[in-house]
């Protein structure tokens, strides 16, 4: 039995090729994900361990409970604490660490990095063990800095150049004193790191005379634990916390492992989808192989093989195919892992170096997945093979494909589909997080249901394409009929494509809707020409607002200033605005009362009003940070959004009570409106500060769009694998169909259909099947996108369904392209068929 099974594998090499490829791709995806994440994780852990090499014990301020009203009670790590640390017997040296946001401009004055990854720090003394210098020397005073080697490389800056940079306030133009290397992850991810000498760093980061952390190095022979003990005794209790370098490293390692496992799971989900799609192809292939071998199998039964033996022979064949696919897939996966790393390196993110990690778990997972999936998918066809009666060996006629009734299947499919739709619809009425599980369950039921129903759906949907196909004459007519000839096979082929397109469309619909709604939240109701903010989202210093107010061509400005207060025993943040011009800068709808901000008159958004049970005319007492109290009156209630919300008070009213005002952003209206000149004017007024972003509403929208585009592109990339597998499925089905129908094709050629006609017939069949899968997938995807949106809509008030018609049309086109590409080879084969062989009677 075993030998016959293996012989069959060899006999049908070509026909099994697509199956092997499909399984191989899935396995490669799985093992590639594992290899890549393991490699990355190991390398990151190594490099992070290296990063803690100079730290034996870290001293940090012990933060008080974050609750409580008082601000600024964080204990400070002063020079005295540092000196005390350095003085314990086990300590060899101690260095202080201080850092924060630092924006460096490139040669064009543009910010390097994206604002969240542009950092600054201090260089300790004349030789800092953390940052080995590759050029120049240590920085001294405010006029000198160091930059990291990657930033130097990207920007083209060298030692001696002057750069523009900004920490929080004014623009500085220090000289580059040197260049250093670092393993810092943020820098590796495309950020920048600038180092000042310690006093300058302390001053710039607003922590004069204090440190964020003190790193203590132990004397040779003193253990980390012993040093920690000494430090704990020497330093004031309750004020500082000590952590050994080993602990820091292991905490870091855990964080890395956790983030990697998230990434791994994400990748594996997509690998799973690709494999799931692959099972359709495997099942299809084995079904066809069994059908083609009916006589052979019947003969085996006739000469005494039991049903179980027949099933087993099919399964052994599947095992062999799965094993080959798994082994090649594993090899390809290791390659993918290596490729991913160099790809990410090429894209700018330096992956820390390290050997490629292939664990035994990866190998085991790859082999198990490949072999099990193949055998599982071949199991049903194997059972069907066993049911072939021995007498089939005697019949001279080709056993006609048993047109088994689809009634049971359709009933089952209708049940699943109905249940799926019902559950999804029920889930949409639930609240965000509650609805997630039922929604996922409903989605799975619905996909299964539609899959079971595809044979039924294929007839009417493909018939609908009839009028178009008629244009192509006989080839079109035959293509249509061939496509519905074996509904099960067509269904399995189309389903593979359907699943990929369902996910792609669903994600796109969700992303488009989300993007639009977030866009609306961020920029709706803003009439100002420009929104000025810090690149890293921090608060602006108040002089930015002042400079903008007096800048040339500016007609109105208002900062959004934050001020904590206590109202009704609760901490409530007041938003300080320039009441007199705020109406010109925004377009907030007033729900109740009047839009009036000034003196004790304030406006509040609907949510806040509801919380406090206020309406126009209500008044309340606010206690400011300086302890003073004031009675304020609600002049109006407005419809708030994500950016503009809360209690809006005139800045003049707030000013006496706020000692260090800071602005979230400044709204600016200029006489020239939004123009390059106006923007340049503002930029100049602010001293061409790289840390400050000047955005129009359009810029904000584009920024949001960019995030979604990146996310979608990543998802598309991952789902592409499922589509590729689906393409293999279409190729497979067509190749098998061409093989099975070779006699028909020969006859058609004999009675006068030319090669082009034959090719066209196969291509059109492929196109019809692919478009069928595409239409189903896009339809389902839109439904899921809508349903998921209903769920998200409960959390996002501005959510509304946006159907990206252009994208959907593109996806349908993609399905068509899939169909045409998949048909290339089978159509060629069909056209090349030897007519005489084909029409020769058995």
């Amino acid at each position: 039995m075993f030998r016959t099974a293996l012989r069959n594998v060899f006999a049908h090499k070509a026909r099994l090729l697509m199956t092997v490829l499909a399984v191989m791709l899935g396995v490669a995806f799985v093992s590639g994900s594992l290899v890549f994440t393991n490699t990355l994780s190991d390398a990151l852990q190594n490099s992070s361990a290296k990063g803690f090499a100079h730290v034996d014990v870290a001293v940090r301020a012990s933060y008080q409970d974050a609750e409580g009203d008082k601000v600024g009670t964080v204990p400070e790590l002063t020079q005295a604490v540092l000196d005390d640390s350095a003085r314990v017997p086990g300590a060899e040296s101690a260095l202080g660490v201080v850092g924060g946001f630092t924006a460096i401009a490139d040669r064009d004055g543009k910010l390097i990095g994206d604002g969240f990854s542009t950092l600054g720090g201090n260089y300790w003394g004349t030789e800092d063990p953390r940052y080995p210098l590759v050029a120049g020397k240590a920085p001294r005073g405010e006029g000198e800095i160091l930059i990291d080697s990657r930033t130097a490389e990207h920007s083209g800056y060298t030692v001696g150049d002057t750069v523009r940079l900004s920490v929080n306030g004014p623009v500085l133009t220090p000289r580059i004193a040197g260049v250093f290397t670092t393993d810092d992850g943020t820098v590796a991810a495309g950020g920048s790191l600038a180092l000042f000498d310690t006093p300058t760093a302390q001053k710039l980061f607003g922590k004069p005379g204090t440190f964020d952390e003190i790193d203590v190095k132990a004397k040779p022979g003193v253990s980390e634990a012993a040093l920690k003990k000494q430090l704990d005794e020497a330093l004031p209790k309750g004020l500082v916390e000590t952590t050994t370098g080993g602990e820091l490293a292991s905490v870091q390692a855990e964080m890395i492992a956790a983030s990697m496992s998230g990434m791994k799971q994400g990748l594996l989900v997509f690998a799973g989808i690709a494999l799931f799609v692959g099972t359709f192809i495997i099942a299809n292939t084995f079904t066809m192989l069994v059908a083609q071998r009916t006589k052979e199998l019947a003969l085996m039964r006739a000469v005494g093989a039991s049903r179980r033996q027949v099933t087993r022979s099919v399964l052994i064949e599947a095992f062999a195919v799965g094993a080959v696919a798994a082994v090649t897939g594993l090899a390809a996966g290791v390659g993918i892992g290596a490729l991913l790393r160099s790809l990410m390196n090429a894209m700018g993110a330096t992956m820390p170096d390290g050997p490629l990690v292939v664990t035994w778990q990866t190998v085991a997972a790859a082999l198990a997945v490949g072999i099990l999936i193949t055998m599982l998918a071949a199991w049903l066809p194997g059972r069907r093979a066993a049911k072939i009666p021995p007498v089939a060996a005697m019949s001279s006629v080709h056993a006609a494909a048993t047109a088994k009734s689809l009634v049971v299947r359709n009933v089952l499919g209708a049940l699943f589909t109905g249940a799926g739709i019902a559950v999804v619809l029920a889930a949409t009425t639930m609240d965000g997080s509650d609805g997630q599980a039922p929604m996922a369950l409903g989605a799975v039921l619905l996909i299964i249901g539609v899959f079971i129903l595809t044979p039924l759906l294929s007839r009417p949907l493909i018939a609908a394409a009839g009028p178009v196909l008629r244009v192509f004459g006989v080839a079109g007519k035959l293509a249509r009929q061939n496509a519905v000839r074996n509904p099960r096979r067509t269904a399995a082929t189309a389903s593979a494509l359907m699943i990929g397109l369902t996910l792609i469309t669903g994600m796109t619909v969700m992303a488009s809707s989300l993007q639009t709604s977030i866009d609306k939240m961020a920029s709706a109701a803003i009439k100002a020409d420009y929104v000025v903010s810090m690149a890293n989202g921090n608060d602006l210093s108040p002089d930015v607002g002042e400079k903008l107010r007096t800048a040339e061509g500016v007609t109105a400005t208002s900062p959004l200033r934050n001020a904590a207060s206590r109202i009704d025993e609760r901490t409530e943040y007041l938003t300080g605005v320039n009441g007199s011009v705020f109406g010109e800068l925004t377009d907030l709808a007033v729900a109740d009362g009047a839009f009036r901000i000034g003196g004790t008159d304030v406006i509040v958004d609907e949510d806040t009003a509801k919380e406090h049970d206020w309406r126009a005319g209500s008044s309340f007492t606010a206690a400011y940070g300086d302890g003073e109290k004031q009675r304020l009156t609600v002049a109006g209630v407005y419809e708030g959004n994500d950016m503009l919300r809360g209690i809006m008070v005139d800045n003049a009213t707030l000013a006496p009570h706020v000692s260090e005002p800071s602005d979230m952003l400044v709204l600016v209206k200029t006489a020239a409106g939004t123009s390059d000149a106006a923007r340049d004017g503002l930029r100049e007024a602010l001293g061409t500060n790289p840390a400050i972003k000047i955005q129009t509403k359009k810029d904000i929208s584009e920024e949001i769009a960019q995030i979604f585009t990146l996310l979608l592109n990543m998802l598309y990339g991952l789902l592409a694998m499922a589509v590729i597998v689906a393409v293999l499925g279409v190729i497979n089905t067509l190749a098998m169909s061409v093989f099975e129908r070779s006699q028909e094709i020969g006859m058609l050629r004999a009675v006068g259909l030319d090669r082009r006609g034959v090719k066209r017939m196969v291509r059109l069949e492929s196109l019809v099947i692919s478009l069928f899968g595409g239409v189903l997938g896009i339809g389902l995807g839109v439904f899921f996108g809508w349903a998921a949106g209903e769920l998200m809509g409960t959390a996002i008030p501005t959510y509304e369904l946006v159907l990206p018609w252009d994208r959907m049309a593109l996806f349908l086109l993609l399905a068509a392209v899939v169909g045409i590409l998949a048909a290339l080879w089978p159509a060629r084969r069909a056209a090349r068929l030897n007519m005489l062989e084909a029409i020769k009677a058995e």
Binding site: Q743, V751, E842
Partner: protein, 256 residues
Amino acid sequence: MTTASLADRSTTVAARATELSKIYGQGETRVVALDQVSVDFRQAEFTAIMGPSGSGKSTLMHCVAGLDTFSSGSVRIGETELGSLKDKQLTKLRRDKIGFIFQAFNLLPTLTALENITLPMDIAGRKPDREWLDSVIGMVGLADRLGHRPSQLSGGQQQRVAVARALASRPEIIFGDEPTGNLDSRSGAEVLGFLRNSVREMGQTVVMVTHDPVAAAYADRVVFLADGRIVDEVHAPTADSVLDRMKRFDAKGRTS
């Protein structure tokens, strides 16, 4: 040709092979399937080609019908020389000028009987001549079966559809490759009857390969092939006379 008189037809050649050779392989494995065969198929004549297995009878038919290429010699269908034609032109020739009836797989299972009959014309994008089509369908007795698919028809009915398809486009010549090979004797007789009637009544030209002396007896002329050569010819054959000739070949083959 349909306008030509019956008298003309009997002398006009519908297809002609001249010194036709077909050689497979080279050197040691060289097989001569056809060895300089020259034969005429006259219009309105029903010719049967007979011969033992491997005699080259099917190869001869395939070459003359434009289904296969040949090594040397020439083949003419009407005025057209086949040797110079490319695949595309050959396909067109088969579609417009030749009708085929095979032993099996004559019909597309997805098409109805009527659609199968008009298939060559559909491929050409031509409208069938309704009157002629009706008379052909009437002759083979399929008027009440036109909407059926091949799987709903008996083997004999399927072959009758194949005969109707071959006749429907009024080809210059019809080739049959063991058209009754898979049929019981009664259905076979019916099909052969239709073919003979088409020759007698419609002036059709039919060439049929067979190994059955009873089938060959329906023809006007029987051409005998052996080892790729024409070895004999019988006019107005009967089953007995054909069987007799065949026996003689067998005997000759064994003694020589």
